[in-house]
Each structure stands twice: as C-alpha cells, then as structure tokens.
C-alpha cells in the first residue's frame, strides 16, 4: 500500500527538514553547480529561441532544477538508465551530456547529439545512459519500464529512473506500464514532476485524485510526495526509492512538487496562472537560492567562490551557445542516414 508520507507543500520541508542534510561540502557544491548550469543553459536557450536560432518547440526546465539534480545524485550514472519527456534539457545536462552537443542539437546543427535530426525533444546518449527525450506525452513511461525489464532480465541490479510530468499522469499507457512493473517487480522509479500545470490545465482540473503519488495504489506501488524545490529532500527521498527498486522490491513513485517559472513552451503566454503565483515561487521557493543559503549557513562556499563558480558556469554556457551558433548545419546527405541500421553483420566479429 502507498505510504502516505506527511504531505509537504511545494517549497516546504519534505521528509527531511530543510537544511538538515548529510551531503558533504563537495556534494553541495556539485548540486549547486549542476542546478546553476541548467538554469543558465535554459536562459540562454530561451534567448537563442527568441533570436530564431532555435526552432520548433522548446520546453524550458527553469524552476525544476532540484528534481533532476537531486535524483541524479542517487543513482550510478555509469549503469542506471534515465528517460524523460520533452522537457529534457535539464536531464541531459544532469546525466553529464555535453552542453555544447545539447545546445547544438537545439540549433539543429551537425554537431548536436542527434546530428541535428532530433531537436529539443529528441536527444539521446547511450554513453551517458540517457534514453531520451520523448515527444509523445507518456510514451517514455512504458519505454522506461522496458529498460527496467532489460535490467531485470540481465540480472544487472541496475535501475531505471523514469520521469514524467503531471500532464502524463493521466495517460492510459502509464498505468499499463505501472501494472506490469508491479506485477513483475521491475526496478523502476517513477519520478512524477508535478509542476502544477499540464500545459495550461492545472492538476486539479485534470486528475480526479490530485495527489499523484497515490496513483500507483491500485497496483500496490508505494508512493511519496517530495518537496521538489529542495535538492536535499529530493536526494533523501530518491535514495530510499532507488534502494527499494534496486533491492528487487519493484517500482516506487516519487511525486516531486515543483514549479516551472516559464511557460509550457516558449509560445505560452501563461494566462492560466497569476503573475503573483509565479513571482511568489521564484522569490520564496527557488531551489538554487535555497541551496545557496544552506551553503552560506554552513560556511561551505564564500561569496568569492560563489562568484567564481558562477563565472565558470556562464563561460561554459556562452561557449555552448557559440559552438551551437557557429557549427554547420547537417550535410544534406544526412537526410538518408540512420533510417535503418544496416542489417549486414559487422565485418569483424
């Protein structure tokens, strides 16, 4: 049965008290760096979109950084699989994919992770165990469950972190996958990033049970609601969930209460929520500011080091943007490649 953990509001203490953390100074510094990198990267992506350098759909992760950074800290990135929806830039950076390659894919260049053929919503890295980047709402959930199936089939003890949003949480295939995951005890952690709105429809207007961590109850999947604006709370809950899955007990659901500051996509005017609501989240609950304060309280990083780290991140992002702007478009011959894998056996066995 679902464990009904104390129900925190977004930005309020979750299963740990804010500031109570077991992370080392190095870890804290890394989380801060990774969240800041995502924030600055996304701001730059938004700018490049505004300049017409990025086309199509572009869904920014600004505001939700603590979720993916906290969760990534709980897995073995060399072995465990990560998969998500189309709001995927943050996940790619968190798994260690190169900012240059990600940004160049956004601008549709040959040097992008998908050679310019996937775009914002469709990027992958086998090397970093990142399985996409999926554009169809909810489709990544059965696929992520299938990755967990492969882990179990191979008896590898690896887990699959399958992220999806509150919008996906009503898709039929999500429940088909949850049923099989529970039935076969597959090592998958479902991370629901509840940013309160599926495009312009609030969770309350879309889900009969708006406590999404309870959505696995019909299958006996334990669930927990977590303050997704607190990287340490995310990490603490994530560790427990990952351990549960890895030890053979089956799937686990984490509902991350989070918030996206920007629109659903770049062309979202945001009429469905008030400016006050957005401002309040930004000023009172920001995950980066929050961690900064924790670090200051602990004396982990002084103002000068913070500034240096900030400058370093800016440099990386500026470099990625420049690389993405100056890289060539794909060669026309790329039109025809990668449609099928050559079925002939490799020359050398």
């Amino acid at each position: 049965m679902a464990k009904t953990a104390a129900k925190p509001k977004a930005g309020e203490p979750g299963s740990r008290k804010a500031g109570d953390n077991s992370a080392t100074a190095e870890e804290l510094k890394k989380y801060y760096h990774d969240m800041l990198l995502i924030r600055r990267f996304e701001e730059r992506a938004g700018q490049l979109y505004g300049m017409g350098l990025i086309g199509g759909f572009c869904h920014l992760y600004i505001g939700q950084e603590a979720v993916v950074v906290g969760m990534q800290a709980t897995i073995d990135s060399a072995k465990d699989a990560v998969i998500t929806s189309y709001r995927d830039h943050g996940h790619m950076l968190a798994t260690g994919m190169e900012p240059r390659g990600v940004m160049a894919e956004l601008t549709g260049r040959a040097t992008g992770y998908s050679k310019g053929k996937g775009g914002s919503m469709h990027m992958f890295s086998r090397e970093r165990n990142f399985y996409g980047g999926h554009g169809i709402v909810g489709a990544q959930v059965p696929i992520g469950t299938g990755l967990a199936f492969a882990h179990k089939y191979n008896d590898s003890k690896n887990v699959s972190l399958t992220y999806f949003g509150d919008g996906s949480a009503n898709q039929g295939q999500v429940y088909e996958a949850m049923n099989m995951a529970a039935l076969w005890k597959l090592p998958v952690v479902y991370v629901i990033e509840n940013n309160k709105y599926g495009m312009g429809t609030s969770v309350e207007r879309a889900s009969a049970i708006s406590d999404l961590y309870r959505h696995g109850e019909a299958f006996g999947i334990p669930g927990e609601q977590v303050d997704g604006m607190d990287v340490l709370a995310v990490k603490a809950a994530g560790e427990k969930a990952v351990e549960h899955a890895r030890s053979g007990k089956g799937p686990y659901i984490l509902e991350m209460l989070t918030y996206r500051y920007r629109g659903h996509s770049m062309s979202d005017p945001g009429k469905y929520r008030s400016k006050e609501e957005v401002d309040k989240m930004r000023t009172e609950r920001d995950p980066i500011e929050r961690l900064k304060k924790i670090m200051a309280d602990k004396g982990v990083l002084d103002e000068a080091s913070l500034k240096a780290l900030d400058g370093e991140v800016r440099k990386v992002v500026a470099d990625a943007a420049e690389f993405a702007t100056n890289s060539p478009e794909p060669d026309p011959a790329e039109l025809w490649t990668d449609v099928l894998v050559d079925s002939r056996p490799p020359a050398a066995a």
């Binding site: 191979n154 699959s160 011959a333 099928l340 894998v341």
Partner: protein
C-alpha cells in the same frame, strides 16, 4: 564589453511585435532571469527575461513602440562602470540559418545514396536494390512438411537457442501455449523468464518491448491479432520506427512485432483488417508478410536477427496449411527479395500472404484458357523488391496486384505508381488492382466471401488486362 539586448521572437512565425512595457530603466542593475520588459503580439503578451548580468546602459526602443522587428536591438547592457558605446556595435548574434536550397521539387534534393553504403545504412526509398540483398539460399538437402504454425514456432525456438537476448512476450503466449498455438512448447523449453504472458495492455507492452530493445534485448512481441496493435501503433511508429533517426543513429530498436493479420473466418469488421499498407507507409520499419511455411520460417529468423523493428504479418487461415521446409536450423531468407512462385509470360500477378495461394489457383484457371500467368509472392512489403516486379512486367507487359486489404492507398496503388515510374513504356494495359471491397468486413458468410478477393476475381482481372 557591452551586449545588445534584442527583440525576441515568441514563436518561430513571429516577425515583429509591440514593446509593451519596460520593467527597468537606464542605469538599473539587472541579473539573469530578471524580467526586463513585456512584448506583445496579436496572439500573446510575454515577459522578456535577461540572460546576461549588467547595467542597462541605454534603452533603444521606447515602451509602446509598435512593429519592432524580431532581432532588432532594444537596449544596451553594459558592465558596471562601463560607458555606453556611442554607436551600437554590429549585432553579435548570427542570424538563423537559411535552408541551403529551396525545396523546389525533387531536383533540388540530394539523391539517395546507393544502398551499399556504410555501417548505418540508408535505405532511401522503400525499395530494395537486389544487388545489396543476399541471394536466396539454394537448398538441395532434405525437406520436411510442416505447418506454417510449426514453422513459426521452430524459427522462434531456434533463434532463442542461438541468442539469449531473444524473448517472447504477449497475451497467452506462455501457459496457454499461444491463442493460436504458435508458441506451443516454448514455455516448457525456455521458461517463464523468456516466454512471458502479458496482461491485455497492447500499448503498454509494446512500449515496454521497445524499452527492452533500447536496453539491449531482442524482444518478439506477439499481438493476438494485428487488429489489437492499433492500440499500440504510437509506440510502434513514434518510438520503435523513428528513434534511430531522431537519435542520429544511436538508439537502434531490434524488435519483432508479430501476429495474425487480415481476415480470419467470420470474425467481422473489428477483427478482420489488413495492416500491410499502414505499416509499409512508414520509414524506419521493415514489413514482412509470408505465405508458405518456408517463408514463415526463413523470414521469421531473419526478422529476429535484424537490428531494426520488423512488422511480421501472419495469417490465421494459413497457420494450419502445410508446406515443404528445408530441414536445417539455419534456414534464413533475405529480407527484401520477392519470390516467383510460378513463372509465366502473359501476365504478372503479385500477391502476399494468403492471397498468394489464391493467385496460384487463379493461374491454374488461366492456364486452362491459354493464359500463362507469372505469380510473384512479394513476401517483403517494405523494403519492396521492385526489381523483380519490374523485370517481370517488362516480360509480360501486364500487372495485376492482389491484396486482401482495402484498395485506397493500398499496396496495389503503390505498385501502380511503381509501374508509372519504372515500367511505363512496357505496359500494354493499365495496372489492375484486386483488393478487398472498400467496406468494413461483414459477418454473414456470403457477404464476407464477396468482400474478399477470390480466385475468380483474379482470373477476371487477368483476363481484362490481357483483353480477353
């Protein structure tokens, strides 16, 4: 160094907008993510956030200004203490790239490369180039008569013995031994780890299979019938077929989706549909439709070994039919080769799956009337062996296409287009399509029979193109 803040686009189609409001003034210090102004188009109002930090040195476009062009400088950002440059520097950002050539017809497009290229192949159109497809193995050894059902089972069992990453999943494949007994005995031999009964959730288990394939396994996903795969078609097309391309070649999906396709017997419209043209339409898939037990075995083995997603269309009425099959556990047919089942010189009849049998019956009838028909078993719908078909038509000058599915945008339509492209000058008569009637399949025995192509329909079509 000063930075120009440019008028942003809210969408790829926006070219200009109104600068509705400034939230900052000259001399203000701003930080990344801070809202600096609002812009308005006919569709929406949006806030613009600063990307860079600095001090607003100069506002170049006053609030309330209409029709500000996208990418026009609207303000200058300077570092603290830095003077505002007198004349704005040349815009730093590069403009969005223009397409290298306007897509004005096929001439401007790069030619598809020959299929004999490199590691990750390029199968441009859905056509095969026979030179790139291995020849069909000539079998001179002993053969054994088996049913299509047994041939499919044997193929799966042999491949499961050969490769431990191959597994079978689907509804009733394990303990029930298969809804149509195709997987009989597999659970006993391979156990519940590799022969897996699923709940009745086609969309879910098709997607789960795709994930397992991304994760390094080789799933065989059985649909009790292909009618139910409509529930799963998003995962088949959007996930299995397109991901290799969208990942720039990283994420291959070696998976077989198999099950009976087309009409069975008196099961009415929802359980009687041919999906050949649906799947054949989609790049990134291979689509096979065997007729004989040898086809079934050789192509199933090829499908399982293929590194791409393969749609394997079986036929319930063929499961019990027996054919001679080479007695070996290494009989693999090349994907992309049609088979001339009956050579002839007067008219070419193409068919696949159960219709091959009807076409052969028709050919016997035609022979009695002095018409020598060549019957081609397509077997592989995508890639299609266009060379064998075209060569045959160059000999007979006439083509009749037979399929059980609906005529509109069907396989026959594709063959008619192929003839226009590649055999126009050789045709002595218009291509004739024999297809299922353009209606949902009725239940009543007489109506069902009338709705599906029968040998006499094929005879009539062949005679028509022979002007007899």
């Amino acid at each position: 160094m000063s930075i120009q803040i440019l008028m942003p686009a809210l969408s790829p189609t926006m070219t200009e907008g109104k600068l509705a409001k400034w939230h900052v003034k000259e001399g203000d210090k701003i930080t990344s993510g801070q809202v600096i102004c609002e812009i308005e188009t006919d569709k929406a109002t949006m806030e613009v956030e600063a990307v860079d930090e600095g001090v607003i040195g100069k506002i170049l476009v006053a609030e309330g200004t209409e029709a500000v062009q996208v990418n026009a400088p609207i303000a200058i950002l300077v570092e603290e203490g830095e003077a505002v440059p007198a004349t704005p520097a040349a815009p730093t950002p590069a403009a969005a790239p223009q397409p290298q050539s306007e897509p004005d017809g096929d001439a401007a497009r790069p030619e598809p490369p020959p299929a004999s290229q490199p590691a990750v192949l390029t199968q441009p159109a859905a056509a095969t180039q026979l030179s790139a497809v291995p020849a069909e193995p000539e079998w001179t050894g002993p053969t054994v008569k088996v049913t299509v059902r047994e041939a499919l089972r044997d193929a799966m069992a042999e491949e499961m013995r050969r490769d431990p990453t191959v597994f079978l999943m689907g509804e009733e494949v394990a303990e029930y031994q298969g809804a149509y007994k195709v997987s009989q005995g597999l659970l006993d031999e391979f156990g519940a780890r590799r022969v897996i009964d699923t709940p009745i959730t086609e969309h879910g288990f098709a997607g789960l299979g795709v994930g397992a394939a991304f994760g390094g396994l080789r799933p065989i996903v059985e649909f009790m019938t292909f009618n139910f795969a409509m529930q799963a078609i998003d995962q088949i097309i959007n996930s299995a077929a397109k991901t290799l391309y969208m990942s720039g070649g990283q994420m291959g999906c070696p998976i077989v989706f198999r099950g009976p396709n087309g009409a069975a017997s008196r099961v009415a419209a929802q359980h009687s549909q041919c999906y050949a043209s649906w799947y054949a339409h989609c790049p990134g898939l291979k689509v096979l439709a065997p007729w004989s037990a040898a086809d079934a075995k050789g192509l199933m083995k090829a499908a399982i070994r293929d590194p791409n997603p393969v749609i394997f269309l079986e036929n319930e009425l063929l499961y019990g039919q027996s054919f001679e099959v080479p007695q070996t556990d290494d009989f693999v047919l090349p994907i992309g080769r049609a088979k001339i089942e009956r050579p002839g010189k007067d008219v070419t009849i193409t068919a696949f799956s159960i219709m091959v049998g009807k076409a052969l019956q028709a050919a016997e009838e035609l022979a009695k009337e002095g018409i020598d028909a060549e019957v081609i078993n397509l077997r592989s719908i995508r890639p299609l062996d266009t060379e064998t078909i075209v060569n045959s038509v160059k000999k007979t000058n006439r083509l009749v296409s037979v399929e059980e599915g609906w005529p509109f945008a069907g396989i026959g339509s594709e063959l008619a287009a192929l003839m226009m492209d590649q055999a126009f000058d050789w045709l002595d008569a218009p291509v004739k399509r024999v297809a299922g009637l353009d209606i949902p399949l009725p239940y009543a025995a007489n109506l069902e029979k009338m709705a599906l192509p029968q040998a006499p329909d094929i005879v009539a079509a062949a005679k028509a193109v022979c002007y007899r």
